[in-house]
């Protein structure tokens, strides 16, 4: 059974213990390529699109999706990353620390922002991300792409592009890494 440190559980200091594999690495790549095609289809191209990966799990996926879009449309894709720690609604309730420095170049006013994250769960991270994006201008629209939608939403948020819908139990965890997608639990160190 694979056992590895899950980087973004750092504030809690737990260890992710994987139980079973949901997608292997090629399946993740195929899902990303399909989602990239869906982004192009929905927006009639990539004009004005900015991909914004959420720290930390969404950032590598956004980078890979930008590469897929480049290959499909033969055009440069604007890419950014966003850390939502300062916008979370649970500051003071649980350990909240920024993981990385936000990198969004320029004003988002009039742009089509595609938020990219690895796992959509309660929706609270996305709520925080929507607030954060506001501070960078008034985007024409914001769309959401996630590799895994695991349910258990606590806010009225739904994704526009999904790699895989994955029914889970609340206490389970989903890890998206270079070697694919795993389902498991977070154990104490």
């Amino acid at each position: 059974m694979a056992e590895r440190e899950r980087s973004h559980t750092r504030p809690l200091g737990g260890v992710f213990v994987a139980h079973s594999q949901v997608l292997d690495a090629p399946a993740v790549q195929r899902a990303l390529t399909r989602m990239a095609h869906e982004v192009v289809e929905r927006n009639g191209g990539v004009e004005g699109i900015v991909l914004v990966g959420l720290q930390t799990g969404g950032v590598p996926l956004a980078t890979r999706m930008a590469e897929a879009l480049r290959q499909i449309e033969r055009a440069d894709i604007e890419l950014g990353s966003l850390d939502v720690a300062f916008y979370r609604d649970d500051i003071g309730l649980r350990p909240v620390l920024p993981e990385a420095v936000t990198d969004i170049q320029g004003d988002l006013t009039g742009k089509v922002v595609v938020l990219v994250d690895d796992v959509l769960f309660t929706g609270r991270t996305i709520r925080a991300a929507l607030n954060a994006l506001n501070d960078f201008g008034r985007a024409r629209s914001v769309q959401l792409a996630v590799m895994i939608d695991r349910g258990h939403r606590e806010l009225p948020i739904r994704p526009d592009f999904v790699g895989k819908n994955l029914p889970t139990r609340r206490e389970e965890m989903v890890d998206v890494g270079d070697d694919g997608v795993w389902i498991g639990t977070l154990e104490d160190k």
Partner: protein, 327 residues
């Protein structure tokens, strides 16, 4: 790392704590660079500045930091307060805390006053904004932050990529009124914790009576020390603490220990000059030297806001309940 309740001394943080402050401050420095440099992080929190001693930049910097975090800010102007009617520090603190204030930022002419305040409060966090000759921890942290920023810029790297390794073996020369300087004490703690070598240069009368146990050396030759320094930290003569009587005259002090154009020529090309402000041009630093690109006083002031945002966020941002699943 366990979060300290208060920031009274750099020693409260330890090396991991300093590294964490520098890391989190980078994220706030990005917020500062935005066209709308404000985040909702500490909405509903109340921060009070209690300055029993004059200050321009530190008070403004803390208040700006708190406002950029969306906290409410109250500032007690001691000159117009009940302190003037004879109210004790303890009663002032208890009154302020009874109003539901979450953080008290305290500056006081007496060394140890913020430590006393921290013993009296029941719930509020206390931040030392300078106490007598003792410590000024946020100044030392922003100095480290600024030095790392300059080192990163030269390497073409992001400061957070350098971590704290860039301080290992760094040669820091602290010059001037070390005896009366709280900045010097905090800088010595911070720089040495990060692995830098700290040397002091000052006339004997402006060195502390004893340096026993301090992890520093005293430069036998000021000019030679300047030639070997990576960072030169200049201090102001603390005339309000009576420094004037420790030197024969300001002109002699400048001749012996001021960073003049002649001495700047001794520095290596890469040496960085810091000053906590306020600078007295023509005394500890020549006016032309103050305006050189290697003198990073303005960056220090800008970074002060980001570092203080990080301190407020780390102290007020919450407890460690543990075991809550990741959202």
């Amino acid at each position: 790392m366990t979060r300290p309740h208060h920031l009274l001394s750099v020693a409260d943080l330890g090396i991991d704590g300093i590294a964490e402050v520098l890391r989190v401050a980078e994220a706030f420095a990005e917020v500062e660079r935005r066209s709308m440099p404000k985040v909702p992080t500490l909405r509903g929190k109340v921060v009070a500045t209690l300055f029993f001693e004059e200050s321009t930049r530190t008070r403004l910097s803390f208040e700006t930091a708190a406002k950029r975090l969306s906290a409410d800010v109250l500032s007690l102007a001691v000159a117009n307060s009940s302190v003037k009617k004879g109210e004790s520090l303890r009663d002032t603190v208890e009154t302020v805390e009874a109003m539901g204030i979450d953080a008290l930022i305290v500056r006081h002419a007496s060394s140890g006053a913020p430590h006393q305040v921290a013993r009296w409060v029941t719930r509020a966090r206390v931040i030392n904004a300078g106490d007598g000759w003792h410590e000024h921890p946020t100044q030392a942290l922003l100095d480290c932050f600024t030095v790392r920023q300059v080192l990163a810029e030269r390497k073409g790297a992001a400061p957070e990529e350098l971590g704290i390794d860039c301080f290992e073996g760094l040669r820091v020369l602290i010059v001037g009124d070390i005896r009366h300087s709280r900045v010097a004490r905090s800088e010595i703690l911070a720089y040495t914790a990060l692995g830098a070598h700290v040397t002091l240069a000052a006339p004997g009368s402006l060195l502390p009576p004893s340096l026993e146990g301090w992890p520093v050396t005293v430069a036998p030759d000021f000019d030679a020390a300047l030639a070997g320094a990576d960072v030169v930290s200049l201090l102001r003569l603390q005339s309000e603490r009576g420094s004037g009587s420790f030197v024969p005259s300001l002109r002699e002090y400048t001749a012996g220990w001021g960073l003049t154009a002649r001495r700047v020529a001794l520095l290596s090309d890469d040496a960085i000059v810091t000053h906590p402000g306020p600078m007295v041009r023509g005394v500890e630093i020549a006016s032309d030297v103050a305006d050189l690109p290697r003198t990073v006083v303005t960056q220090q002031v800008t970074n002060g806001v980001a570092v203080r945002m990080a301190i407020l966020f780390l102290l007020l941002g919450g407890e460690w309940p543990g075991g809550v699943p990741h959202g």
